[in-house]
Point group: C2
Chain length 214, copies 2
């Protein structure tokens, strides 16, 4: 191996990474949400998330319980769907669903002049069982989701991971979620993204696995 590159096995790399994060993380973080905050920083190398992540009351506990009971995770994009640890999720009887790539979703979005993301949230109304939403990209998905619950078209999900990224309607969509009363984990501000949504879901999955082992 090259000079300056440490020779470490895969597990040691992760352990060393978390040790650095714990060492450099200077903001006080609630112990109950700390594994989630640390995994987001691990996935982004961006300590801003220690300041911007907001957890509604018992959001981590509710998310972990839902995953342990076999919840379906509805992802807004195929990237989010690809990143969630399906081995662990499947071990609890859960699965990932995403509707963004469906041909009829694209057709309907075009016809109505709205985003595919918004239409794909409507498709999720047909799902049964406990649901967790992982929204890493589209503010329009988050807004439509809040509307569907308010209209009574969908039961309140167990958890909404609301971390879209960007410049238009992104901040506003997250504030809407925070004021909705739904159980949520939100990255306030412009930042977020698929990697953040995935890191949050996987942190919850690893907490659920850890609970099961004890």
């Amino acid at each position: 191996m090259r000079r300056g590159i440490e020779l470490l096995g895969p597990r040691d790399i992760e352990a060393a990474s978390f040790a650095i994060i714990q060492d450099e993380l200077e903001v006080p973080v609630e112990p109950s949400v700390r594994p989630v905050v640390e995994r987001v920083i691990h996935a982004t190398a961006d300590f801003d998330f220690a300041h911007t992540l907001v957890f509604s009351d018992a959001a981590v506990e509710r998310g972990v319980a839902a995953l342990a009971s076999g919840a379906t995770v509805v992802a807004d994009t195929t990237m989010v769907a690809a990143g969630i640890n399906k081995r662990v999720l499947g071990g609890f009887g859960g699965s990932v669903r995403t509707f963004i790539g469906d041909a009829d979703v694209a057709e309907e979005a075009r016809r109505r002049g709205i985003t595919r993301s918004a239409v794909s949230m409507e498709r999720a109304c047909g799902l049964s069982g406990p649901l967790i939403f992982a929204i890493g990209n589209a503010p329009t998905a988050l807004v439509r989701l809040c509307e569907l619950v308010e209209e009574g078209a969908m039961a309140p999900p167990e958890l909404v991971v609301g971390v879209p990224v960007g410049f238009v309607n992104v901040v506003e969509s997250k504030e809407l979620l925070l004021s909705s009363g739904l159980t949520s984990i939100v990255a306030r501000g412009r930042k977020g993204g698929s990697t953040v949504a995935v890191a949050i879901c996987n942190a919850l999955l690893y907490l659920a696995s850890h609970d099961r082992r004890e």
Copy 2:
């Protein structure tokens, strides 16, 4: 729609986003690389990348030419593979390959005590035609890739998008790539990730499409 949420169609949202980025981007950026830098900021809402993205000589032009000629994009993770615009890539005759999920890769990695990412780069040696590597996560993939080219086991790729994220060996792996002489686009420092790798590849794809239309 809600107060504070602008009513915009999908295309208008993207145009408005890029207008904000162009307005707020205060660092001078070379015109030839600007579409790539802007799309990375669009995907992350993080203006740090205007400072950290490094392009080797004619990297954008070479990447665009390779994609236009039907290059295969080798992704280090399924998230990167999921995010690349396959419709546009396929329109040029190209495709995405990723080996990280292969059962025999996992088995060999375990046996040799190295990462699956490193083994998956070895699998790419068997591919023919022009190759672009999109490494958004694993520094071990980037290091192994540089070694394989140096050892002569692989021809120099048309482009290496080297944007792993994290705390251990990440900075060093990118500096190794920068000193390798390979054609590369690198996000210097700790930051990077799947979304950054995808944004770079898609920016190149949209440039290639634009060239074709003219």
